[in-house]
Amino acid sequence: MSNVKAIFSHLDCLVDAIDGMKQSGHSDFAVTAPLPRHELEELIYEGEPSPIRWFTLTGALFGGTMGFSLCSLTHLNWPMIIPAGKPLVSIPAFIVIAFESTVLFGCLATLVGLLYHCRLPAKDMDPEFDDPRLSDDVFGMVVRNLDDSTAASVKSALDEFGAVETSITGGKDA
């Protein structure tokens, strides 16, 4: 099995290439960009939202509950009789800590979600993307797991879409 790597210096060529690959049924590909471009995300994921939001929601709910419980349970654990009918569990006072904990745990869970979904930290990720130009001024594309004849046709198709450089590399199990 082989991979085809292409370098694009123009965004419109890359967009055409992604479109072309999708239409010809090659869905196992990855694209790199030195900056976030929403048209790439729209084209590849077709508006499907990132699942990170579930991490954020879970973390925030946990944090809020934990913050409020910490204050309430510790005060109930040592129930001092407070004059003037002041409550042991005081909502206005504890809501501040509950809010801060919501934000803290919401952010920490978002961070975990981000690292998990981006597969970070990664040591050896896609040797094709180990190219200093990709973080600078060009876009990269790798179409993976192709047999030798398809690889050749994909390579020439990418050339036609305007890639400035294409190459066939060994696949993961090659």
């Binding site: 965004l11 030195p34 040592w78 501040v96 800590i97 809010f99 801060e100 981000l114 973080s135 600078d136």
Partner: protein, 454 residues
């Protein structure tokens, strides 16, 4: 500076290419100029003197500080609030303006965020210095101790622990996440051990479609969390005062008043730091008058709110017909601390008014000098609130006149040196302009011009 960058509509030079941006931003890193070494030496000297003062206090106790009973919140708490306030502009610029899709934030947000983190790191020194026995500072954090006792979660000081530590954690995460793609760019532009170092900071970032997709989603969430957080932090700091019955502090006006003051001082600090930085590093294509003018406008808005808050608190003190409340406000203006009050009013309410003139707010010298006045004014504002109220409480027999002594001034110098040391180190080892985000402002490279990317 060339004419086009003085044009208010000029943001970033759109003739730049992606490659040039990377090159320009990374060019001033690492090399040490004479001016830089001079700044570093000043910071180290300040740290040495301040460190000696802190050591004196550690050995001899809080008695060496200039407290005079009943004023036990003095310079340390003033400076704590000052530095927390400075941090607020960073989060405002990086998170709030991100949500509003404001374009001018791009050039300045990275350094402003770094400023936030260093300001909070500086502020965090002060509760420890203020309590005296700083080796027991961990008692602030909630953990079950040997006697199963917990903190009083109804105390605003406890809220402050949660607010400030959450603020520091969230700002640091936000800052680091923003830096990851730029660390990857640095990894790819450097060699040897330095490249490996940035490689480990970039944790394997390759900028794939999958990574950018989750990255942008997460970045939005971080910004959405940081926005209410920044408003809550200075509100909580203001409750440290407003929850007490002390005259001059016990006011519902405090949270919005403190938040506006924090953003006012923070934006001024961004101008103070970024203006020389953009000139020394020749970054006028990325950070220029256009950005500073926006910061000045932000100062005009928040400074206006602050002036209104000063007027309101004086009016309400008079209108309440409470002799203690009105007494403290008269005392602030004409009593022992009249000079503190009038420095505050001149620096915060009067001098920045010059920025209403476009000529003044687009002149680099005028921007820089007025921003320094605002920093001075905002420090004195906190001193005015804290010292005058405590020195002039309900019982005339306990009235006093507190002034910080040389040990406290030494600690103040320590805090500035500590802050500037971190900032100086930051500008040499990390890109102070966000490479990936500046590239977003540029038109993408297209082969077929005129035909927009699909």
């Amino acid at each position: 500076m060339s004419n086009d960058v003085n044009n208010a509509e000029a943001q970033v030079d759109t003739s730049l290419t992606y490659g040039q941006v990377t090159q320009d931003v990374l060019a001033p890193l690492f090399g040490l100029s004479r001016g830089y070494l001079f700044g570093l030496t000043l910071a180290l000297l300040g740290l040495a003197y301040g460190g000696w003062c802190i050591l004196q206090q550690l050995v001899w106790g809080l008695g060496v500080a200039g407290y005079s009973q009943p004023v036990f919140w003095g310079l340390y708490i003033t400076t704590f609030v000052f530095w927390i306030g400075i941090g607020h502009a960073g989060t405002l610029i990086s998170a709030v303006l991100f949500l509003f899709r404001s374009k001018w934030r791009t050039g300045v947000y990275r350094a402003a965020e770094a400023m936030t983190i260093f300001a909070v790191m500086t502020a965090a020194l002060f509760p420890a210095l203020h309590v005296g026995r700083m080796w027991n500072a961990y008692w602030l954090f909630p953990y079950p101790n040997q006697r199963q006792l917990w903190q009083n979660f109804k105390s605003p000081l406890m809220w402050d622990v949660f607010a400030v530590s959450t603020y520091f954690t969230v700002s640091t995460i936000f800052f680091y996440i923003g830096l990851i793609p730029d660390f990857a760019a640095m990894r790819d532009r450097t060699r040897g051990i330095i490249s490996r170092m940035y490689g480990s900071l970039a944790i394997g970032w390759r900028g794939t479609d999958r990574q950018w997709r989750h990255y942008m989603a997460a970045y939005g969430f971080f910004a959405a969390f940081a926005t209410p957080l920044v408003l809550s932090v200075h509100s909580v700091v203001s409750w440290d005062f407003a929850m007490a019955l002390t005259a001059g502090w016990h006011s519902t006006l405090f949270p919005p008043y403190f938040v506006a003051g924090a953003i006012f001082s923070g934006c001024a600090m961004v101008i103070t730091l970024m203006l020389p930085l953009s000139l020394f590093f020749k970054w006028d294509r990325y950070i220029n008058v256009w950005h500073f003018e926006h910061l000045a406008k932000m100062c005009l808005l928040t400074g206006g709110i602050l002036t209104y808050a000063y007027l309101t608190e004086h009016f309400i003190a008079w209108y309440s017909d409470n002799p203690y409340e009105w007494g403290i406000f008269v005392f602030r203006a004409v009593g022992d601390y009249w000079w503190v009050f009038w420095i505050m009013v001149s620096c915060n309410c009067i001098i920045p008014l010059i920025w209403w003139f476009k000529k003044a707010r687009t002149n680099l010298w005028c921007l820089w000098i007025v921003s320094i006045f605002i920093n001075i004014g905002m420090w004195f504002e906190r001193f005015n609130i804290i010292a005058s109220s405590l020195a002039h409480q309900f019982d005339p027999a306990s009235w006093t006149y507190y002034l910080p002594n040389y040990i406290e001034i030494g600690v103040l110098i320590f805090s500035f040196s500590w802050f500037f040391l971190w900032f100086l180190l930051f500008v040499k080892v990390m890109p102070s302009v966000a490479i990936a985000e500046v590239k977003e402002l540029l038109p993408p490279p297209l082969k077929y011009k005129g035909e927009a990317a699909k």
